[in-house]
Amino acid sequence: MGQKVMEERKASKRCGGVLPFIIGFLATCVLGWAVLPGLFYVEVEQPFKFSHTIHVEGQGMDCESCHFFRDDGSYAGFPTNEGCAECHAVDPEEAMEAIAEAGIDANDYDAIMKAEIGAIEDNLASESDENKQAEREYIVKYLIQGKEVPWLNYQYQPDNVYFSHKAHEGLDIAELAEMKKELSSVVDSAVFEGEAPEQNCNLCHLKDIDKNDTPPAFQQNILSGYSKMTMKMWKCERCHALKGQPNACYTCHK
């Protein structure tokens, strides 16, 4: 009787053993690194397609036309309708009148865009249909409504964070390249490749956005609602420490 049990036990030790443990371990490791992180994010599209290349290359605008420091040192990140309307100059009153005349419900944006109202169509500057439609969406849904476009900020920070672009204006990518190994967890090393651009936006923002035609989707965390790109506190602290800048709480919080 004892021998049979011993044999059974030996059999189970051999058969069970470490393998299921290893299988389980490796399976979740693979899942946990490759699959699950992606599930935490849902892709949200920007309100409409804004193409940097059309404006920068096509219209010859430079970065400062829309993204500049104001007189008081604050940074104008997203341009307001006032700026866009300098070229996308559709008079809201004229457009609303035309819509009313055409007998369309002012709240039915799809119908308005389909109707191809003269006041709006005359202003469209794009060539392709896709881009024309993007312009139409901007004008109908936002410009003539007097509403600012609710752009999704890839680097969105919560209200308790005070970030000053002015304080970081002096950072030079070429200089920082010397520290790229220490900064590897904060700044992707791809940023330091090639010729360093004049502005240092690439350090934190989407690389070479001025050459982008279709803005990438905003990856929203399903639990916290924040962007995947949102820089967490430890990254700010790491770079501050490496550059000898203060890490006092009030340096960044409000």
């Binding site: 189970s12 058969c15 069970g16 470490v18 393998l19 299921p20 443990f21 290893i22 299988i23 389980g24 371990f25 490796l26 399976a27 979740t28 490791c29 899942l31 946990g32 690194w33 699950l36 992180p37 935490f40 104001r70 008081d72 604050s74 104008a76 307001t80 600012e148 209200d159 965390n221 639990l223 916290s224 609602g225 924040y226």
Partner: protein, 649 residues
């Protein structure tokens, strides 16, 4: 234990350990911790360009020059306007909360007739009909002391053949009645408190509730070596920073002033006025220090000391508050002293048929108002003067719900001060004629219309809209529209002519005699800006600034000296009923040694029955118990000398 079960358990354990070696669990915990702080009802902030837009605020009767702070075009706060002499960078607690009042849910959203919404066109038709039927039986009550909108209302009255323009009771009115009514002067009195070396505030709570408070406070702060003396029945906030408090009962203020004048006359001062000899004789015989002490309780030594300081000063000024007689006595004293009292000329009119400011201040609202069509502009007479005001058909113009809009037949919402173009001309008390203009900061989101625009649609005064009226006014004033729109003020240094002015000797002697009511205790009502004025209730963020000396819970607090409390048989915390005037008020007692014995000090501005949760049902309405007595000699009514009976409950 079979192989399958053991394998399953081992695989699960492996999986559990494995997942811990991946970022999944840790980032999930981090995300969950952020999720726990994402409370959807906590508002998030808006960012954008921050600007300070200059404009004019009418939240108090005088009006002030402010800068409204906006972010991405949305107003969020108010600050002072350094470049404007009316503000000098500071603001009062009412304007500090202006944006919050503008965004309050008690804003009136559309024109209402007997509680039902109507269109502006229908309102215009209705009012036109009523006006046509009423003829000259039309009256206007205005709560705005300084705006050109008054000229528009006055023009309307003129076209109806009426002169029934009323302003809410104010020091400006009492001063005008004394100066132009009794003394034959013209223009408006001003006081250069910034450059005076001795300032006697004879009843004028200048640093809290008298005149253009912020401008007064700025003058006080800039006056490095000046000596300020406050005379009154109670130590108001003004008294907390003046060099001295002289306890003087409100009804005795005129006599007190004449008592000081006695010494000044004895020192040989004189004025080239037609009735100077008569005046001197009247004071020397009727207002000797002994007589004044007997009538008012103010010690002769105190008056002598003040007179000495005024005589020794290079540039003294007496600033009156209270009855017409008190104002007249102060002006006479100022003329004798020849100090920092100024007489300011009035600016030109925009609306030809409008009354002058002095004419607008002639009617005595305390005597009562009765009309077929009564228009009330941004004033709350149904709260402050409940018995005196009656109208067969009442039209109330205001931006927030008040007792008056609740009682009115037709309610026409006006834009908030920061949503409209408005102006202010020479608030009462400033040292030079000053004109300021404001442009809208925010776009109105409700169905509102500027009151002046509505009135211009009723009568043909030669203007299409209020903007045209303002342009005409700016031209009449002689100022530059662009500079004004940027927040600068237009200041005229000229003084008006004072020759031909009399000292009202025959009237003043009789009018200055203290007259008190029949109640057991004298009542000293006082106004605190953070508690609210007659026209503006306390603002949303102000209730936490209201101290336990004014309000405990929902109960108003009245203050009295310990001697008074002992006599009345009450102590700290006793509940009492004050009866007088048109009713009674309930209050709790607080012992405060800064009140004249025999006087109870009660805060005005509480006891609202209509309004938001911050003002409704708090305390009691002291306006109910004020008694109106007639200054027969001066031809005016006054609240000074109100008395009450106090009973413990």
């Amino acid at each position: 234990m079979s192989v399958a079960r053991r394998a399953f358990i081992q695989m699960s354990v492996g999986a559990t350990v494995g997942i811990l070696f991946t970022p999944t669990v840790w980032t999930a915990l981090d995300d969950v911790s952020i999720w726990t702080q994402n409370w959807p009802w906590i508002p998030s902030l808006k960012y954008g360009e921050v600007k300070g837009v200059p404009t004019v605020s009418k939240m108090c009767e005088s009006g002030c020059a402010v800068k409204v702070r906006t972010v991405a075009g949305e107003a969020f706060g108010t600050e002072g306007n350094m470049d404007n002499p009316l503000s000098g960078g500071g603001i009062c607690p009412l304007c500090a909360n202006g944006v919050q009042v503008m965004n309050s849910p008690t804003r009136i959203k559309a024109p209402m007739l007997n509680g039902k919404e109507i269109s502006w066109d229908d309102a215009n038709k209705l009012v036109s009909e009523k006006l046509a039927a009423a003829g000259s039986k039309v009256a206007v009550i205005s709560g705005d002391q300084t705006g050109t909108v008054n000229e528009v209302f006055s023009g309307l009255l003129a076209s109806q053949g009426s002169d029934a323009f009323y302003s809410m009771p104010s020091d400006m009115q009492a001063a005008d009645k004394a100066w132009t009514g009794l003394m034959g002067g013209s223009g408006q009195i001003g006081y250069d408190m910034e450059n005076a070396d001795v300032v006697l505030l004879a009843g004028a709570d200048a640093l809290e509730s008298w005149g253009p408070t912020v401008a007064n406070m700025k003058a006080f702060a800039n006056n490095e070596n000046g000596k300020f003396i406050f005379a009154g029945p109670m130590q108001t906030r003004t008294a907390s920073v003046t060099s001295k408090w002289v306890p003087v009962p409100a009804e005795g203020m005129a006599a007190f002033t004449l008592g000081i004048t006695y010494y000044v006359l004895q020192a040989g001062k004189s004025v080239p006025a037609a009735d100077f000899d008569q005046f001197k004789a009247m004071v020397i015989s009727g207002y000797t220090p002994a007589k004044v002490e007997a009538a008012t309780g103010v010690k002769a030594d105190a008056m002598a000391e003040i007179a000495k300081q005024l005589l020794a000063a290079d540039n003294p000024v007496v600033v009156p508050g209270g009855s017409v007689a008190a104002n007249g006595a102060a002006f006479a004293l100022n003329l004798l002293l020849g100090g920092a009292m100024k007489v300011l000329p009035e600016f030109g009119k925009a609306v030809e048929t409008a009354m002058t400011r002095s004419e607008m201040l002639k009617q005595d609202i305390l005597k009562g108002v009765s009309a077929d069509v009564l228009m009330v502009y941004e004033a709350n007479p149904f709260y402050a003067l409940p018995e005196q005001v009656k109208g067969a058909f009442t039209v109330a113009f205001d931006s927030v719900e008040t007792e008056t809009t609740a009682a009115a037949d037709l309610v026409l919402p006006t834009p908030h001060a920061y949503e409209r173009a408005d102006d202010l001309a020479t608030p009462y008390g400033v040292a030079s004629a000053t004109y300021s203009l404001g442009v809208p900061v925010s776009k109105p989101t409700l169905n509102v219309m500027n009151a002046a625009d509505f009135v211009l649609g009723l009568a043909d005064l030669g203007f299409e809209n209020f903007d045209e009226v303002l342009e005409a006014k700016v031209t009449a004033v002689g100022a530059d529209m662009d500079e004004l729109a940027e927040g600068a003020a237009y200041v005229l240094e000229e003084s008006a002519d004072v020759s031909g002015v009399t000292l009202a000797a025959s009237v003043l002697g009789k009018a200055a005699v203290p007259v008190k009511g029949t109640g057991a205790v004298a009542l000293a009502p006082y106004t605190l800006l953070n508690v609210g004025t007659a026209n503006q209730a306390t603002t949303p963020n102000a209730p936490c600034t209201i101290s336990n000396n004014q309000l405990i819970g929902d109960n108003m607090v009245v203050m009295m000296a310990s001697a008074t409390a002992k006599k009345l048989g009450v102590g700290v915390g006793s509940k009492v009923k004050l009866s007088g005037g048109n009713g009674d008020c309930e209050a709790l007692v607080q012992v405060f040694e800064g009140v004249l014995p025999g006087v109870v000090a009660a805060p005005l501005g509480m006891g609202h029955t209509v309004g938001d949760e911050f003002s409704k049902g708090k305390g009691d309405n002291v306006y109910k118990i004020l008694t109106v007595s007639s200054e027969a000699a001066a031809g005016a009514s006054t609240w000074a000398g109100s008395t009450v009976n106090v009973a413990k409950i």
